[in-house]
Symmetry: C3
Subunit: 159 residues, 3 copies
């Protein structure tokens, strides 16, 4: 009986981990679109690395600075929505990884523009304060090999 | 042992609450896009309030009426898809709240248009018939302060 | 006590089923956008049927062939993102069904185009190897009755 309950506890903990990791992924867009620099930075571990076609940021302070940057503030004034798609998440103990698409919609004088569609690969670690993003790599979808490889690697690791 | 199991039951109930609230949020679009007025109204509690830049509806009957309205019927004939993004959900006992983006895609002669991108704030209550939406506030993303404040408040309440 | 734990096990299993079915739905897009034909086909049961306005495929081999087709390879070279919306899922024992929207974004010389917005109805079965898609029907949203009926049926079955 104790064994059954212990196994059940582990399964419930894993489902809660899923919810926590979804929450990290889904908090990013709202935080950066509303200029909540501290909230955006707090999603990441101290040694977190964010890579994209345009930037390479290391650590929460650099992420806060990005949110305060002229480029990001211009997007906020224009009206932006960074929206991640439902991700694929794999959890193993205190580490997890995920892939998924994201889109940035921008308000313009003639309606909404799909400004960017990207591929993302995230890594997560369980810290003393709960799950944090430890790495995010983002490449725009443009038929090029970088976004392709970022996503295709997921299926190769699976098998 | 009994204590361990009781704690586990509470954790499972909370995960089930998450699923139920996601379902409420995700049922709305399909219901209004297909003219299912009763199904749309049934997502809401009797005293529910829906606020947007264009409307202020109180209670299920007003919501049903909105689905039957000329404006909504025209969207249905044109071909529309109201799609919420993955929301952020907080549950406390018999109350919950969530924020998240939503988009309306419209079919046009020259393809699909992103007609509207909005910020949403929902409140939920657990009723005798299960979770219901008790309030939804919706503001379009256009760089203005209303959508900004609606979403940014989430992070301020968090801290 | 044993009864309480057995009931809890069933509830946890159901939550895990939800996660597994979300994963099937969310794996499809990434697999076809990156040309992972085997991974795409592996989501389906041996007798799975895929119906759309443009195609009727039966079984994993036909799905693999579709991924290798000239049409799909052209989309991959252009840069595509097949993104499902958060689905509504119903599970009953070893069978499940879901409805939900999906979108295809395409990279073009002048930015991103929302190429297709569709309604989907899925059926799933639990096999010896876990949950698999046993049927998917897809109709584009264009104000026509096919997509409407596909989604509206969900609410009629509910009541």
């Amino acid at each position: 009986m104790r064994e059954v309950v212990t196994a059940l506890e582990a399964r419930v903990a894993r489902l809660e981990d899923q919810v926590a990791i979804h929450r990290l992924i889904n908090s990013w867009g709202t935080a950066v679109d509303t200029g909540q620099a501290e909230a955006a930075a707090a999603l990441f571990s101290d040694d977190a690395v964010l890579r994209s076609d345009m930037s390479h940021l290391v650590g929460p302070a650099a992420i806060e600075e990005m949110v305060h940057s002229d480029g990001q503030q211009a997007l906020i004034r224009q009206g932006s929505a960074h929206i991640p798609a439902f991700p694929l998440v794999d959890i193993e103990g205190d580490r997890a990884r995920a892939i998924g698409y994201s889109r940035v919609y921008l308000h313009t004088d003639s309606g909404y523009e799909v400004w960017r569609v990207s591929a993302n690969y995230w890594e997560f670690s369980r810290t003393a304060d709960g799950w944090r993003v430890s790495s995010r790599t983002n490449h725009v979808i443009d038929g090029g090999s970088e976004a392709q490889e970022l996503l295709a690697g997921w299926f190769r690791q699976d098998t």
